[in-house]
């Protein structure tokens, strides 16, 4: 039987992480669950451990991208065949984990990404965010020749080869989304998008607040540009 890890990055999710872990256990009771606590100042680590997850805690906060890469390094070291990844804030409905994993386990794709725009029940992001998402999904879809509707989604499932690939320095730890998909495509991995349900963040906590959206747009455009400039063999598997 395949060895699957459900990876949940979390930062100050002490009030919600236990419920997320329990819901994942209810959907996929046979899979191991890893919570990467990204230097939370609350009791996220304790709550996750009590709920039954294995916990890896960063000594200080390093951001979402570094947290998920720590999970990939853990999965790689422990010899997991597949990873399913969901956010720790409860936005991602764990019911879709088996559906995301299925094409990856069957070898139909290397990387499955969940899209909130293919599922009618999902929440609608703000107008500004939707415009930004539409802009980057056009770029990603054009470069990868694959229809991508939600390039910023953190709801993903992927294979051992992608896990190993993401443990290297090619993984963009600073906002890993559109440029990560392009890097995967250039490295020869197959990408598939599937519908998932996402809920709105009830506490309104977002990694895209203040001046961050401007930095995000700049960083993403620069990252996509230099990724395309790099020789394919420098980002090969």
């Amino acid at each position: 039987m395949e060895k699957v890890l459900v990876l949940i990055p979390a930062y100050n999710e002490g009030t919600r992480i236990a419920a997320v872990v329990k819901r994942v256990q209810g959907v996929v009771p046979d899979y191991d669950i890893l919570v990467v606590n990204d230097g939370s100042s609350d009791n996220t680590a304790e709550e996750a451990a009590v709920a039954g997850a294995r916990v890896v805690s960063h000594p200080f906060n390093m951001g979402y991208g570094v947290a998920i890469q720590t999970g990939y390094k853990y999965a790689h070291a422990e010899g997991y065949d597949f990873i399913a990844q969901i956010d720790g804030d409860g936005q991602h409905d764990p019911v879709y984990i088996p559906r995301l994993l299925e094409p990856v386990i069957k070898g139909k794709t290397d990387f499955a990404i969940g899209s909130r725009f293919l599922e009618v029940d999902s929440y609608e992001p703000s107008l500004a965010r939707r415009i930004g998402m539409a802009f980057f999904r056009k770029i990603v879809s054009y470069i990868t020749s694959t229809r991508i509707t939600d390039s910023t989604s953190g709801y993903q499932a992927f294979s051992r080869d992608v896990i190993r690939f993401f443990t290297t320095e090619v993984f963009p730890c600073d906002y890993p989304d559109a440029d990560m998909l392009i890097t995967l495509h250039l490295a020869g991995f197959r990408i598939m998008e599937l519908p998932v349900r996402m809920y709105s963040n009830v506490e309104g906590k977002s990694m895209h607040s203040g001046l961050k959206p401007f930095y995000y747009i700049f960083k993403m455009l620069l990252s996509i540009f230099v990724t395309l400039l790099r020789k394919r063999n420098s980002i090969g598997r």
Binding site: V55, V56, H58, K73
Partner: protein, 127 residues
């Protein structure tokens, strides 16, 4: 160039060289970061002593005055130093990230073994 200006410029160059070498001697500055400072001081020194070189360079880059040329090269030098620092900080950031990730993974493994009672590690051994 007036003799007072020339003496002042030479003294500044010599002072910077002595200061940088002393920092390296006291291990307060690594050799790799002293290169740009020493090279710039040497270039400034020769441009001041060989004033005709400075005039030729001024004519070459189209500057109005030789002192303008010195200022331009001083700014270029500061930019190079800043870029060198930025690349070093980027490298250090990656190294800190990797170390923190390794630290987190190892700590998790130690705690996991402790809970299972199979490690034989004590607090003092973990350090």
């Amino acid at each position: 160039m007036p003799i007072r200006q020339e003496i002042f410029a030479i003294l500044v160059c010599i002072g910077v060289v002595i200061f940088i070498i002393d920092l390296v001697r006291r291990r307060r500055l690594r050799e790799e970061y002293s290169v740009l400072w020493l090279a710039t001081s040497a270039i400034m020194f020769f441009l001041v002593v060989k004033y005709e070189w400075l005039e030729a360079l001024t004519a070459f880059i189209g500057a109005g005055l030789p002192t303008t040329t010195l200022f331009i090269f001083a700014i270029i030098f500061l930019m190079l130093i800043s870029v060198q620092f930025s690349t070093k900080i980027s490298k250090l950031t990656n190294q800190v990230k990797d170390l923190a990730q390794d630290n987190a993974l190892l700590r998790s493994e130690i705690e996991h073994f402790r809970r299972r009672g199979g490690s034989g590690l004590s607090d003092s051994e973990e350090g």
